[in-house]
Structures are given as structure tokens and as C-alpha cells.
Amino acid sequence: MRPQLPTLDLVPLYPLLVVTGWAVLVLLADLFVQHKRALGYLALTGVIVAAVVTVALWPGVPTSFQNMAISDGQALFFNLVFLVTGALGLLVAIEYLERKDLQRGEYYALLMFSLAGMIAMAAAEDLLIVFLGLEMMSVALYVLSGSNQRDMSSIEAAMKYFILGSFASAFFLYGIALTYAAAGSTNLAQIGSWLSGRGIPKDPVALTGLSLLLVGFGFKVALVPFHWWTPDVYQGAPTSVTAFMSVGAKAAGFATLTRVLYSAFSPTFTTDWVTVAAVLAAVTMTFGNLAALVQRDVKRLLGYSSIAHAGYVLVGIAAASPVGVRGMLFYILAYAFMTAGAFAVACAVERREQSTTTLADYAGLAQRSPLLAAAMLLFMLSLIGIPPLIGFWSKLFVFRAAVEANLAWLAVLGVLNSALSAYYYAGVVVQMYLREPGRSPAEEVAFRPWRSALAVAVFLAAAATVVLGLWPGAVVNLLMGV
């Protein structure tokens, strides 16, 4: 009797396959291509192709691939976020690596591999795929963080990220094992139905599993108290890597966290994780904002700011409602443009011999490079949440979801936090607009959108910040279908 091969329906994995395949292609091309810059554009093409495939799959296909992967609206939306981030990250890198003399082919391949990991995470319907995607993304990011071998802080960042990341992975895996024990399956939907059907309320095994999974996710998305690595790694890693990872890793973490919480641990354990998520959100945003107040290194400042934003995103998850999920999705999209844009500006301001930028480097930027300063101004205002920019809507949506979920205190705390965050974002603006250029002004890339890839990235992010702020309806309509 011939063994029956299972039918592998690969349709939901098309974006993943495109990106993975393209990554291999880039790796191979690296052997022949002399101008590594071209590899960046090759990778960019792959990202665009994957985006086209993703759009073609809209509004989603049912679960398949042995019930292990799903490409529903949420997964596809996340795919778009990843791909946009990847595209911005590539555009930034093409120019940044050139200036830093780091131009190497494997950078682009690694970036694509980590992108593939993110896509796998968003599409995961089984803890195995979750873990696989998580590691695929993380390992690539560890290496990317250390890709500037000449720079000690880059290596230090890689080391910290790697050790703490693997440490968190161990907790995560233990959590998977316990969840498997409690539910007899690693399939998220099956876990959910088992736990709500035959599971024991307050099952300590399942709850311990949930806690340990939260540790792993908390690490990836930088929730307090699992955030320690974030400022150090964001500061130390090459800025082009930070721009990509600050958004991509966080978004991927939230993509899977949402799925795990909503399909595996609902509704039996909803009350349990809602409380935890609300408290973590409160602590995280308050910590991030307070700590950011004292920063003088802009990359580090944005690192703490990204912790704060993880807190805001978690507010949407804590709401445990479709409104909250949509708010969270919108938030992550907004965050992608604002933060990647801000880091792209940091790339432009960074000097050749530096590995980071201090606030003083931004002094008088408005004089030296008005358009770059204007773009940064937009990102900062949007991160504060000033209408009519995109960051305003994202905050409005998640806070609104919190109010509807009887978490009004969390919303009020969020508004208070936004007010607080204004101080350090404004600190950057003050430097750019209200200070004389320093003694040796940094050598920004000339901001010519038609000449420089970096400038294209900044311009795209800034345009999205404004346009999606003025017309958020397009995204909202998209999300209503999710």
C-alpha cells in the first residue's frame, strides 16, 4: 500500500514562500553580483512582489496547510505592515550601509529571512509555526544587530539581544509545552475549544503555560518587565536595523500574541489575561514615557518611546473586543510609519564615524536640512498624538476600545501618558527648530527625494503619516473586513 501523502494546500503561505524564496535568491545573487547595492533593490523587488501577492489574497483564505497556517484578513494586514516596514528598512539600509561602508549581500538576505519569520508568525495557527517563525525572525535579527563588526556597540547589542532573546525563547517553549499538556494539542483553535469545553477553569497548568507564553511575547514586543534589552539594542544596532526591527519584531509579536490570546485562551481565561494585559499596558506605557524623559541619545529615546507605544498597543488587546483588535491593528500600522520614519531620519543625521545620534546632533536641523527637520517634526507630532496626523487616530481607537471595555482608568492613564510623552518628543523638536547648529554640524544626506533612497523612505513615511491622518477611512474600511 502506498502511503497517502497529505494534501498540502499552500495558498495561504504564498507570501511567505515568495519572501523566503527571494531571500535565497538574494543570497545566491550575492555570489555573483559585485555591486551589493543592487542586491538591496533586488530584495526590494521581492518585497513588492510579496505585497502584490498579499493583496491578491485579500480578503483572506481559510485555514489550510494541515490546519497550521491561516491567511485571514488579520494575517494579511500584518503582512502588509511587515512588507511596508521591510521596504522602508531596505530603502534606509541601501543608503545607510553605503555611507557606513557596510554594504554586504547577506544583510539583505537576512532582512528578508527575518521578514519571512514575521509573516510566518502572523499566519501561524499552530504553536509550532509560532515558534518556528519567532526563531526565524529573531535569529536573523540577532545577526543583523551585530552586522557592524567594527562597532563595539553593535556587537554588544547583538550579544544582549541574542542572550536575552534565547532566554525568553526558553520560557516561551516551556510555556508551549505546558499549554500542550493542558490542551493536548498545539493547534490554537483546538486548544481554544478544548480549554473552553473540557478544560478546567483555573487550570494551573494552562495558566502557567499562558504566563510563560506572555513572557516570550512580552520580550518580543518589549513589555515591562521584559523590556530590558530594548533601549540597549535599539541604541547599539546599526540604525537601519533598528528602523526595521523596532517595528517588525514588535508587530509580529503582537500579531501572534493576539491570536494566541483570542483563539487559544478565550473565553475560559479571558478575565485572567485581560487583567494582566491591562496592568502590563499601564506599567509599560508609564515606564517607557518616564524613562524616555531623561534620554539624550535619540535612538535610545526612541527605544523607550517604543516601549511606551507597546503599552498603548496592549491597551487595544486588553479591551478584548473586535473594536480593540481593530484599534490595535491601526495602531501598529501608524506606529510602523511614525517610528520607521523617525529612525530613518536618525540614519540621515548620523555621522559617518558615529554609531548613534545625540539630541545635540539635531541642533539646528531646521537650518541645515529643512525638509528632513519638517519630516521629523511630523513624526514627533504624530507620536505625541496630535491631530490630524495618523498617531492621533491610533490612540483614539485604542483608548476608545478601553472605555468600551470598562477600562476607563486605562484610557485616562493613556491620555495622561500621551501628555507626558509630549515633553521628550518636543525636546527633539526644540533641538531642531530652536537651537543653533552645533560647532560641527552633522553631515546629513542631502534631502533630495529623487536622488536618495533614504530620502524616499523618509518621504513615504511622512506622506503616510499625513495622508492616513487626513483620510484614515481607507484603513478603517480595510479593518472592518478583518
Binding site: V139, Y180, A181
Partner: protein, 103 residues
């Protein structure tokens, strides 16, 4: 069948705790890495044990453990590369000395 599930779990938990202790106490990056490997393998023992005692009809746990072994190997390879590059640059693999970035 003679060995009950609880024994397996105890061994795994002990291994996890040892690994954890290693991560927290070792100053040498290689030692820390070993601790992490122990923790991962503790989880592996759990996965296999749960497969054997809870869902022997499906292969989930076992397959998962095989995947984890593979992933852990890849992770260790990347980690060692990072450690080596740190050593090349700083002539040290003491994790405590990598503290130039803080606050």
C-alpha cells in the same frame, strides 16, 4: 511505562532550573549559552513526555521536539558567531563587561 509522568516532569523542571541558574550566574557567554540550551532541552523533555502520556496517538509533541532541536542548533550557531565576533573585538567573552550602553 514504569516511570510515571511526574518523574519526567520533575527532571525537566530540575533541568530548567539548573539552566536558569546557569544563565543568571555564569559570567562567561559560553556558559550562559549552555544554560539556555539546558532550558530549551528541559522544555523538550516536557514535550516528549506529554506526547507519550497525553496524546500518544498524534505525533505533535515528538515532532515539536525535533523541530526545537533543529532550531536550537541554528540559534546556537548564530549565538556562537556573535560571541566570537565579540571576542575578536574585545578579547573577552564575559557578559558583564558588555555594559557600555545603559540608562
Amino acid at each position: 511505562m514504569a516511570i510515571p509522568l511526574s518523574w519526567w516532569l520533575t527532571v525537566a523542571a530540575a533541568l530548567f532550573a539548573i539552566g536558569l541558574y546557569g544563565v543568571l550566574s555564569r559570567r562567561n557567554a559560553i556558559g550562559v549559552l549552555l544554560g539556555i540550551e539546558l532550558m530549551l532541552n528541559a522544555a523538550n523533555i516536557n514535550l516528549v513526555a506529554f506526547w507519550r502520556f497525553i496524546t500518544p496517538q498524534a505525533l505533535t509533541g515528538q515532532v515539536f521536539a525535533i523541530f526545537v532541536i533543529g532550531i536550537a542548533a541554528a540559534e546556537a550557531a548564530a549565538g556562537l558567531a556573535i560571541i566570537i565576533s565579540a571576542y575578536r573585538r574585545r578579547r573577552t567573552v564575559v557578559v558583564d563587561e558588555l555594559d557600555t550602553m545603559r540608562w
